[in-house]
């Protein structure tokens, strides 16, 4: 069941096929819908900023409570970002930019270390849980060994402060094999992902659009 009316389905099918037409070659219909898409996306951003930032976060809170008047400051700082569009005044955008980048960096320092490095390193040197819950000790030993060796070898491969010779060279060599296996899995998943997106559009065309002809 689709929540769209027949006219809407035809419109959606038209834009879908118009975009697909690029696969044959570039053509005016594709460029037409592409331009509309670019414009609508920019307009979408405007609506979002107007409503969720300017109205919801600045204007409405000030209207309901005058003690929120301080919210004008971040709004002005945000407006200063537009000075980037000029050459003469672009340096003014540095302060709001520094405010955002400084505070985001503050979050990064703790979250990267506490949220990623520590738990990932800690669990590397613990017996791995076998997916599916198997308690076969051999499986646990093999899986845990793969994980420990793989993490060390990958880190060594990306360690460029020392020449890849001797033990480091061999470990880095092992690292590249691990990396290739992982990238192979990544490629397999990427194919799956891209194909799924195509399936989604074909599903729309067959089930929703053509399906609507037969009711």
């Amino acid at each position: 069941m689709t929540p769209f009316s027949p006219i809407e389905l035809w419109l959606m099918a038209f834009v879908t096929l118009a975009i697909f037409s690029f696969l044959y070659k570039d053509n005016p219909v594709y460029r037409l819908v592409e331009s509309i898409f670019a414009g609508l996306s920019a307009g979408y951003y405007f609506g979002l900023v107007w409503d969720t930032v300017l109205m919801q976060q600045v204007v409405d809170p000030i209207k309901t409570d005058s003690s929120n008047l301080y919210l004008i400051i971040p709004a002005l700082l945000g407006i200063l970002l537009f000075s980037r569009l000029t050459q003469k005044w672009s340096y003014l955008s540095r302060v709001p930019l520094a405010f955002v980048i400084g505070s985001t960096s503050g979050i990064f320092i703790t979250s990267r270390l506490q949220g990623l490095v520590l738990p990932q390193i800690r669990t590397t040197f613990m017996p791995q849980n076998v997916p599916g819950g198997s308690t076969d000790p051999w499986m646990i030993v093999v899986l845990s060994t793969i994980v420990v060796v793989g993490v060390i070898a990958t880190l060594v491969y990306f360690y460029f402060s020392h020449e890849h010779k001797g033990v480091i060279g061999w470990t880095a060599r092992l690292g590249i094999w691990f990396i290739m296996i992982s990238f192979g899995a990544h490629f397999g998943y990427t194919v799956m992902g891209r194909v799924s997106l195509l399936i989604g559009r074909v599903q729309f065309l067959v089930e929703d659009w053509i399906g609507s002809f037969t009711g």
Binding site: Y44, T52, V142, I146, V151
Partner: protein, 220 residues
């Protein structure tokens, strides 16, 4: 002055947010200050989103003014920007067509035109990846052979037909692919990359807060 104020700003905000990690956010002063800073960040960064719209309008307006090749498409871009933007900024109390809610022009245009268009643009990647797999995916060396073989095995194990096929050799084969390839080799490499990248991001953040890294300011 042009550089000192931003460096001090990044230092102060960065230090407050970092230190507040160790304090209760609801009961301590530093926790509350951090909450305020983060609220400001969402407002400042939110307004930056409008930069894109200003920029796209300016570029296309100039194209029309100079009658450059394809200027007609620029007219379409600008018309689309305003058709989407103006009704979204008008109060819903005037008409249900205004604003961003269900029933508004903004909502209708997005769900009926933009969503299918954007989904289709990315769906085309399936064709390109298939073509690339045919033309460029070669077993030229040990490394590329490893990559290729893993990709094929994983692609097989992630589809019902492939799972069925793999089970013909051994009932547990798809499970082993999941255990040893995805949760073994893949997990360890991803973990190595995550740790390396996280350490890099943390040290870069520290450089920004301390004012050593200033490239975000641009030239001048």
């Amino acid at each position: 002055m042009r550089k000192t104020v931003p460096v001090v700003t990044a230092f102060v905000t960065g230090v407050i947010v970092t230190i507040s990690f160790f304090f209760n956010e609801h009961t301590t002063l530093i926790g509350k200050v951090q909450g305020g800073i983060l609220q400001w960040v969402t407002i400042i960064f939110g307004l930056a989103l409008a930069l894109g719209m200003v920029s796209i309008t300016r570029v296309n307006f100039n194209k029309i003014k100079r009658k450059q090749e394809g200027w007609f498409y620029s007219v379409l871009v600008i018309v689309s920007v305003f058709v989407m933007a103006i009704p979204s900024a008008l109060p819903v109390s005037w008409s249900p067509m205004f604003g961003r809610n269900e029933g508004s022009l903004y909502y209708w245009l997005w769900t009926r035109i933009s969503e299918p268009m954007m989904a289709t643009m990315f769906a085309m990647l399936a064709f390109y990846i298939a073509s690339a797999a045919y033309r460029a995916f070669r077993a030229r060396s040990t490394e590329s052979t490893l990559l290729l073989l893993t990709a094929v095995i994983v692609m097989l194990s992630r589809i019902p037909m492939g799972e069925w096929f793999l089970r013909l050799f051994n009932e547990s084969l798809p499970d082993w692919v999941n255990i040893y390839i995805m949760n073994g080799f893949n997990l360890s490499v991803q973990r190595g990359i995550i740790v390396g990248a996280a350490l890099g991001a943390a040290s870069m953040s520290l450089r920004i807060i301390l004012g050593i890294e200033r490239t975000y300011m641009g030239k001048g």
